[in-house]
């Protein structure tokens, strides 16, 4: 999956969706920090820094959503692989469903002709 999206999204949007998208990036199997960032970038979600991703992955680890495994690298340091636990998979399914509902409502609101809460 690749995209030619080069636009940078508002940072608030990235902040809101990064956690969910990082969990999704882990759903295909164990992967590591730079590969996650590359996957998000190729999906057109924007450019993320290691300094943003790793604290998030640490939060997932503390919450028991991911488990980690250090694997020896070909050269230099080893690689820290993250994989979803069953708890993490359940969390991803829940957050994904909520996100889809939320974005559907947001889209409906943005495209509706009349969205005043009360009649004037």
């Amino acid at each position: 999956m690749s995209s030619t999206q080069l636009e940078s999204w508002p940072s608030d949007w990235n902040r809101a969706s990064l956690g969910l998208c990082a969990l999704q990036a882990l759903s295909a199997g164990p992967t590591y920090g730079y590969a996650i960032i590359t996957a998000l970038e190729q999906a057109g979600l924007g450019t993320f820094k290691g300094g943003t991703l790793y604290p998030l992955l640490t939060r997932f680890e503390t919450a028991g959503w991911v488990e980690v495994e250090w694997r020896p690298g070909e050269s230099g340091p080893g690689r820290k692989f993250f994989s979803l636990t069953s708890h993490g998979r359940a969390e991803l399914a829940c957050q994904r469903s909520q996100w889809l509902t939320f974005t559907t409502s947001t889209t409906a609101f943005l495209t509706a002709a009349n969205h005043r809460g009360v009649s004037p």
Binding site: Y34, K49, S75, G76, P77, R79, K80
Partner: protein, 185 residues
């Protein structure tokens, strides 16, 4: 021998280690964080500062998510050992008047020096992180404290008329002697 990422950016990694330590991140989590940064900058070819920001900011963000170690009493030990030094200074100032059966004379400047030392000790928890982050502060503290101690000794009044306080040296000697065997160090 090829240089590793940690060799090439030693200062950045050293600062990150110190900052994580100041946030009471566990040793295992610090090792993990350093190895993760090294892995990422090898993969991305970025500089640590570009990918992770300053060590201080990154440590704060990481520490907010990582398990922390229980307080290890380093602050308490530093305060107690500095307090021990002050007690020793007062003890040594009282020895000579006591052996000569003279009152312990204290002048205004001398009291100000003792007050400065007391403030340096009591305020230590407020600036301990500054001391550990900056070498100049770590050098300046003993210099200022030492200068106050030397000044206090030099400015000890010779005659009772020029002294602000004239104390009986024995109670001071006994009180400080009783405090000194306490586990200050």
């Amino acid at each position: 021998m090829t240089k590793t990422a940690t060799d090439l950016h030693k200062k950045w990694f050293d600062e990150l280690t110190l900052e994580l330590r100041l946030h009471r991140v566990t040793g295992a989590a610090i090792g993990d964080a350093l190895a993760s940064v090294a892995e990422f900058i090898e993969d991305s070819g970025q500089e640590p500062e570009d990918a992770f920001g300053t060590p201080r900011d990154y440590a704060a963000r990481l520490a907010a998510e990582a398990p922390l170690a229980p307080r290890d009493g380093v602050r308490r030990q530093m305060i107690l050992s500095t307090l021990g030094l002050v007690v020793f200074l007062i003890f040594s100032a009282a020895i000579s008047p006591w052996s000569n059966s003279e009152p312990l004379l204290l002048g205004g400047t001398q009291l100000a020096c003792f007050a400065l030392l007391a403030v340096l000790v009591l305020a230590l928890p407020l600036y301990l992180n500054l001391l550990l982050r900056h070498m100049w502060a770590l050098v300046a503290l003993p210099l200022v404290g030492g200068a106050a101690g030397v000044l206090a000794a030099l400015l000890q009044p010779r005659e009772e008329s020029s002294a602000l306080l004239a104390l009986s040296p024995l109670p001071v000697l006994l009180a400080t002697a009783a405090l000194m065997p306490m586990p200050f160090g």
